[in-house]
Amino acid sequence: MNRRKFLIGAGSLAAGSAAAMGTGAFSTVEADRTVSVNVASDSQALLALDAKTENENSAYAKEQSTGAITVDISDSNNSGFDGEDPNGVNPNATTRIFDIFTIQNQGTQPAAVWVPPESVSSSTGDDVTDGTGFYIDPQATDRPNGSYSGTQYDGATSSNGEISLTGIYDGPQTYIDNISGAEWNDFTLNTGQSFDFGVWINSDDNGFSGDISMTLKAAAVDSVGNQPDTL
């Protein structure tokens, strides 16, 4: 495609623009440069997702062979009390499972970490973020920054510094704007800092069985508590 342009350029040079030759016209330049990329498992990533034995509910976390972490609250792998074999959460109930794995900032800058609400989707096609029927919301607990401890869903009181990583499906900025005491600090991890990932699950009488996927987003901030440039 550029070959043609190049020939034309050469033609007009031959026609006598020696001046252009001396000053450095070029028609196309392609420069190959090397980029080394290291891909690591979630536990070794710059934004590390790591389920360790000290995570109280790490039994619900699994590191896949691809290195990606997943959470499983359906399977019979979650051995319960006295060898019982639980297969899921209760119907018509609110279940909060905190501290499944740790999210740690292993990068070089402080970063705000959250879950964009639009990224939460279900393999069943159900809207699981509408706050009615069956819904699920990712939570952070044991946060190192911020002091927010206001109410969560259904008037329940925050415990363990619990905060909704989706900003209760509004995104952190709207959440911060609308809820007294909430601030970007609540979502921020300085270099080396971590908080724990958990889920809030509300179930109704209709059963649910499916996979929920969501995106964890980390955006660098210039200093702890600032709003990130990228939302």
């Binding site: 007009s12 070029f26 990533a45 990606a68 070089t108």
Partner: protein
């Protein structure tokens, strides 16, 4: 746009060509002419490529330059960021600046500065051909939407420069190190 200059170029060729054919037809000729070419380091070349920002140690950044002639190279994470670290799978990472800029109250944005030191306006973009799952693209760090250069190549007039960051998507890439080649393309417009 280019077409017009081409046509006028042809016109002059044809016009003067009439003179030539009238005075001495020839079917073939060989003429040796000397073309002087010199290569320069990336900093001094017609398309200047300069690493920007500080790494976490001397020459340990995400963007570095070295060798003879000097060339820029990139590493994610930067070699000073911890050898056992990496980018997570199925993730999109955007690197706006070098690792050593974190503590700087007025950090230098971008990892690479591209300057048009030629005489024509160019458009600039990157190409990434690979057999891996990785996808690497450049974007203008002053663009709030961070649109990839290849999707909307910016134009650089003579002397203009642009500072770019790197967006790397890992998709289902295996957990290992990859040595990728990114082609930086400048086309005259």
């Amino acid at each position: 746009m280019k077409r017009r200059t081409m046509l006028s170029g042809l016109a002059t060729l044809v016009a003067s060509g009439g003179l030539i054919s009238g005075t001495g037809a020839f079917s073939s000729m060989d003429a040796q002419r000397r073309i002087s070419v010199s290569t320069a380091g990336d900093n001094q070349s017609l398309l200047a490529l300069e690493q920007v920002g500080d790494g976490t140690g001397p020459a340990f950044g995400r963007s570095v330059e070295g060798g003879t002639p000097e060339r820029v190279a990139f590493s994610f994470p930067g070699t000073g960021e911890g050898s056992n670290l990496g980018l997570g799978t199925n993730s999109v990472y955007e690197f706006d600046r070098d690792s050593g800029e974190s503590d700087d109250p007025d950090p230098t944005e971008g990892l690479l500065r591209i300057t048009n030191q030629g005489t024509q306006t160019i458009e600039i973009y990157s190409e990434h051909q690979t057999s891996s799952e990785l996808e690497i693209e450049l974007y203008d760090v002053t663009d709030a939407e961070k649109i990839a250069l290849r999707d909307k190549p910016p134009e650089l007039n003579t002397g203009d420069s642009i500072k770019v960051g790197f967006r790397i998507q890992t998709f289902d890439a295996e957990i290992q190190g990859f040595d990728e080649t990114l082609t930086i393309v400048a086309d005259a417009v």
